[in-house]
Amino acid sequence: MANFNFELVSPESVLFSGMVDAVILPATEGEMTVLAGHAPTMTTLKTGFLVITDSPGNGKRILIRGGFADINPTGLTVLAERALPAEELTQEILDKEILHAQMVYDATNDPVAKHAAESAVVQLEDAKVALSY
């Protein structure tokens, strides 16, 4: 399988940089999988899990909150506003994130933002349930 270059950058650090097989992005208009040779695309991201596959059957999940993906011929760059690798996730962090999303939901009247916050809450609660097993 063809590889491509993937970089995950958050404001505080570079979280991932290297060759990967596939990346699943939580794009605002639905999840999308990026493989080598993807058409140049720019998309915004919502809260959700980003799944990196660096070799078949070997994946890594990272929770991201808001951000932006730039797919160009040289590779994929994800600028995440906040990124947390799945291994570092704990119930407390998730609770805090859920609270944040709920506060955003309560604070805004804009239907688009409200919908985004609502789906973020759902995503995070799913993650919390998955984590407790």
């Binding site: 970089e7 505080e12 650090s13 208009e29 140049p40 720019m42 998309t43 760059t77 906040r82």
Partner: protein, 290 residues
């Protein structure tokens, strides 16, 4: 001529001061390392952001639909200066050089008949600027309680600036901070953040991008984020510069204290010897007189 006791006291006090400056220098060095790593870690994000924005902006033609953050309000009557300084002093010319740059800028603008508003981030700059610009300063952002600078602080400031912009409170915003070059060189910098200044990437303009959602919407979400990252980066650069400036200032202070101790000890020893000699002469001449 000070007495021997005075000299002893003076030497002891300079020694105590030297110990403090030495300790401050050491603390600054440790903090500097941390601040520098943080500033370097933030660099890739800001750089990628600039590239991505450049890619999009080069494809956008200026029109009535262009976001105001990029196109501006069409006038440049009211200027907002965001002045980032430190919360603490004792760091050489760090605070005053940023404040001076901001003051010169403000004076120039006011001479041109423009209205100036200011937001001070950090208490030290506020202390200096409020003497002259107490009417222009509209807000003071205190970061003293913040231990580790995070993205949230940058975001908080950016939200304030954006809210003011949306209310039409100003037309152009400039950010003042100190760029970290090295431990001994920090460069006070003025950077225009609204309207955003983006270098168009000539090369990427011909590559055809798919946009999801469409171009305008992406640009609209990206521009405020870019503002946040610019401010966040300025804060980090400032933090590293502050520690660097403090480190070299305290190094100088320690060295000066050392020199002073040397000089004082010399005077002390001389006058002690003079006293002994004087007493000896007195005894001898007394004995001779018998």
């Amino acid at each position: 001529m000070p007495s021997l006791k005075d000299l002893r006291n003076r030497i002891a006090s300079v020694k105590a001061t030297q110990k403090i400056t030495k300790a401050m220098q050491m603390v600054a060095a440790a903090k500097l390392r941390r601040a520098q790593t943080a500033a370097e870690a933030a660099r890739p994000y800001a750089e990628r952001m600039a590239v991505v924005l450049g890619n999009i902006a080069s494809g956008v033609t200026m029109g009535p639909e262009t976001p105001r953050l990029l196109a501006g309000t069409g006038s440049d009557r009211v200027h907002l200066l965001v002045v980032c300084t430190a919360e603490r002093g004792l760091c050489g010319a760090f605070n005053s050089s940023i404040a001076r740059l901001a003051r010169d800028h403000a004076n120039r603008l006011m001479a041109d008949g423009k209205t100036v508003k200011m937001i001070c981030v950090g208490k030290k700059g506020y202390d200096v600027l409020r003497r002259q610009f107490s009417e222009q300063i509209i807000d003071l952002i205190d970061l003293r309680s913040v231990r580790q600078l995070g993205f949230e602080q940058g975001d908080m400031i950016a939200q304030k600036v954006l809210a003011l912009y949306d209310q039409g409170e100003f037309d152009v915003a400039t950010l003042f901070y100190s760029r970290f070059r090295s431990v001994i060189a920090q460069i006070p910098t003025a950077q225009q953040i609204i309207p955003a200044q983006i270098e168009a990437q000539g090369v990427a303009a011909d590559s055809v991008y798919d946009y999801e959602p469409d171009e305008g919407e992406i640009l609209a979400t990206l521009l405020p984020r870019n503002l946040t990252i610019q401010i966040f980066r300025a804060l980090l650069e400032n933090a590293a510069s502050e520690q660097g400036a403090r480190m070299s200032a305290m190094d100088n202070a320690t060295r000066n204290a050392g020199e002073m101790i040397k000089k004082q000890t010399m005077t002390y020893n001389r006058s002690r010897q003079a006293m002994i000699t004087k007493e000896l002469i007195e005894i001898i001449s007394g004995a001779e007189a018998l």
